[in-house]
């Protein structure tokens, strides 16, 4: 096996409609690293995260996560892999007819936590994202930014070793973005590997983490991985 948390070797992703979303991506993310994936809209950031999450299969190339080859994974085992990851999806993927707490507790329940335990753990993490007063509300009663914070809470509640976050601050205002970044930095310091996709170059300028830049996804040959070290 390998010591890297995530490895991608010459990964190509061409969607059925001949849209090349990723082309010849090779990268390595070490355990405990905090990596930004940056690039303009449509450059393939979400595609990259979805591949890591086994929600999409690469057209060619090899992907290794946690030492497991997930290029052609056993469909029946995907769920076990997913339990080791927290994901913040760009469209939140929350249950509309459940409350805030239920949405977060849900992720615990299905992994075998008893209900009360799941509830109280959910409360705890919701406090951390500042939604302690909204626990009993339905998801539909939340503003976009609030929903995004619920999605973040759900991704964190299992304390996964790997966190995949797709534009997790896209609907947050400047102050909340700082709050969330603080949580992420905290997790990073505790050893969690974080992959953070965003198009806001402002963030990578402010935080001096490694940034992997994807270029416009429409032109297949321009797909390159660049290392951008931003300063402070």
């Amino acid at each position: 096996m390998n010591e890297a948390m995530i490895e991608m070797h010459h990964v190509f992703k061409t969607y059925p409609s001949q849209i090349s979303a990723l082309s010849d991506i090779t990268l390595e993310i070490l355990p405990g690293e905090f990596a930004f994936i940056v690039g303009p809209s449509g450059s393939g950031k979400s595609t990259l995260l979805r591949i890591l999450f086994c929600a999409e299969r690469p057209t060619s190339g090899e992907v290794v996560v946690h030492g497991i080859h997930i290029t052609q994974p056993d469909f029946k085992k995907i769920y076990q892999l997913r339990r080791t990851m927290g994901i913040v999806s760009q469209d939140f993927k929350l249950l509309r007819d459940r409350t805030v707490n239920e949405n977060v507790a849900f992720a615990l329940e299905i992994t075998g936590h008893i209900r009360e335990e799941a509830k109280s753990k959910a409360s705890e993490i919701l406090r951390r994202v500042g939604l302690e007063e909204r626990e009993g509300d339905s998801i539909l009663a939340l503003s976009a930014g609030e929903q995004q914070r619920v999605a973040i809470a759900r991704a964190l509640v299992n304390s996964p070793p790997l966190l995949l976050a797709d534009e997790p601050t896209g609907n947050l205002d400047a102050r909340m973005t700082l709050d969330v970044m603080e949580i992420f930095t905290d997790l990073h310091q505790k050893g969690t590997t974080i992959v953070f996709a965003t198009q806001f170059t402002g963030l990578i300028k402010r935080y001096s983490y490694r940034a992997i830049r994807l270029l416009d996804g429409r032109k297949a040959d321009s797909h390159k991985v660049e290392e951008v070290k931003a300063t402070g």
Binding site: K76, I78, R82, R96
Partner: protein, 299 residues
């Protein structure tokens, strides 16, 4: 394990409550289908039972020549009893024949007033053995009887015997065709409702996949839902059939009840009821299985 069971039951309950209306409809439809099927089974059961009683009545009548001396009757009886396929033979004297005619004519028995029994011929009523009670075998026995010279004429309900065979045949065929159709219908209906239940939960299922729920956690509640629907549907059908069966007697006027009393109208035996319930469950399960095959692909 305990936790898993608890989870599955809670979720099944949530699913069913969430789509309560369509669940009730499904159960209702299964109940109707099963009711039709079990009504038919009940009818078939009673008819078969009735036919068995009737079958016992199939008999051959051999008229003796008028004026046969009574000394000849006894040896003739013995001889007839020894024929292959014959079970019992009963001698009907002219006086007995008179009584029979009176019964047969019922209201018009006044017609017989003034007739002397002596003018009527004596006869043998011959009961066949069970295996011989069908048209081909009876014909063989009748052929043997015809060889005995003391008999003037041999009669048996040939027409009825034939109709009887045809009836049994039709009954069996219809049972299988109707049964098959209804079973398919129940699977389709259950499958359809569950498919709709599942698609109405599509978003939720997607999220479940997203947070790493194991496939069995997602599927088993749906299977259980199908099982429960089938069981309740079957149970309702039997309950309703039972009420119908009971109600029949309450509603029927006393005059007809006396008539019905002659033919025992039985309810389905416990074993058959168990089979119907089990059948409902299997169908419900199968329906949900088909539905989840169609809709629940892992993403």
């Amino acid at each position: 394990m305990m936790f898993f069971l608890q989870y599955v039951i809670r979720r099944t309950f949530q699913n069913m409550m969430g789509n309560l209306f369509s669940n009730l409809i499904t159960i209702g439809i299964i109940a109707i289908s099963m009711l039709i099927f079990s009504t038919f089974t009940l009818l078939a059961f009673n008819l078969t039972n009735f036919l068995k009683i009737w079958e016992d009545k199939i008999e051959v009548i051999a008229y003796l020549k008028r004026g046969t001396p009574s000394s000849e009757v006894e040896p003739l009886l013995k001889k007839t009893r020894l024929l292959e396929g014959v079970e019992t033979v009963r001698y009907v004297s002219p006086y007995d024949a008179m009584g029979f005619m009176e019964t047969k004519l019922g209201g018009q028995k006044n017609l017989l007033e003034g007739i002397q029994p002596a003018v009527l011929p004596p006869s043998f009523e011959i009961q066949m053995k069970k295996d011989y009670r069908n048209s081909t075998k009876i014909k063989e026995v009748v052929a043997h009887l015809k060889e005995i010279p003391q008999f003037e004429e041999i009669q048996y309900g040939q027409e009825w015997v034939e109709t009887f065979s045809v009836l049994v045949h039709i009954l069996r065929l219809t049972q299988w065709i109707l049964g098959g159709l209804l079973l398919i219908a129940v699977v389709f209906i259950t499958s359809n409702t569950l498919q709709l239940t599942i698609s109405s939960r599509r978003e939720e299922i997607e999220v479940m996949h997203w947070v790493g729920t194991s496939p069995s956690f997602i599927r088993i509640p749906f299977y259980l839902e199908g099982l429960i629907q089938g069981f309740l549907g079957g149970g309702l059908a039997i309950l309703f059939l039972f009420l119908l069966h009971q109600g029949l007697f309450l509603y029927i006027p006393p005059s007809m009840q006396a008539w019905l009393a002659k033919i025992p109208v039985l309810f389905l035996p416990l074993e058959t009821i168990a089979w119907i319930l089990l059948g409902g469950m299997v169908l419900g399960f199968f329906g949900s299985f088909v539905a989840s095959m169609r809709v629940l692909k892992y993403k």
